[in-house]
């Protein structure tokens, strides 16, 4: 295992390369998930506002 992690002395280059690969793609996925959440919240807020406008307020 230690020999595998050492990568024949090139660990300082190989593992960062793999880390960059997965981190950048992970950031892509995360950004999409966050954007989806934000858009859904905005849309829900919009719909709530429109519903409130359609039903006239009964309380004085």
């Amino acid at each position: 295992m230690g020999r595998f992690l050492a990568m024949g002395g090139y660990a300082a280059y190989v593992w960062p390369a793999y880390a960059v690969f997965f981190l950048v793609l992970g950031a892509d996925v995360l950004a999409t998930a966050l954007r989806r959440r934000r858009v859904l919240r905005e849309l829900a807020g919009r719909m709530a506002r429109q519903a409130a406008r359609r039903q006239p307020d009964v309380s004085p």
Partner: protein
Amino acid sequence: MNAFKLWYHKLGSPPYFYLFAGYIRPWLWGIALLLAAVGLYGGLVLAPPDYQQGDAFRIIFVHVPAAWMSLFIYGVMAVSAFIAVIWRPKMAEVLAMESAPIGAAFTLIALITGSLWGKPTWGTYWTWDARLTSELVLLFIYLGVIGLYHAFEDPRQGARAASFLAMVGAVNLPIVHYSVVWWNTLHQGTTVRYFGPSSIAPSMLWPLLVMTIAAKFYYGASLMGRSRVALLSLERGKDWVRAEVAGAPAGG
């Protein structure tokens, strides 16, 4: 009735595409992860060290798929962009604009892993090598497309303008590559041996191909996810979006 044409027109309709994308996305994810696991095992464990570069060559399994994907995604984006500019269908605009950030991500990966590979092989993180330089210019083209898209207040107008820029970039890209290669030979004189063994052994080739296919499936999955969000925001006010928002766990 032409079945393909029918399918094409159905996919061109946002609510149908939204459902379709939601349905195939988990499958694309599953295949991408499975292939990536197989490819990584083959590349990191099974493949023997290169007789010249030792284990440093193993960067090939992320670098080369990323570099290929950066061009492949540009191709997909340019085709969608062409359709978006000529026929103006909403779906082509969405696909082109949501492809751009994924392509930029792969370009960035190719640049960083390329320079990480360059240090042990050339002794420097950055050299004005023709391929690295072209990849850098490709990143600028992607950033220009993304920047122009976001510079407009109306997303559809921005998508069309950025699509036009993507088409210009598609024409420009081969010219950049050709001129950079010419410039490189002009100034360096000595040729730098490019990474990787000249004839690649089968034990190295199959993990490389598997990783490339995994990256393609990842692109598909990410594109579907991004397009779904973009459609929700573009089609707000339409009934199908209201139904979707009411059904989704909003605010969570």
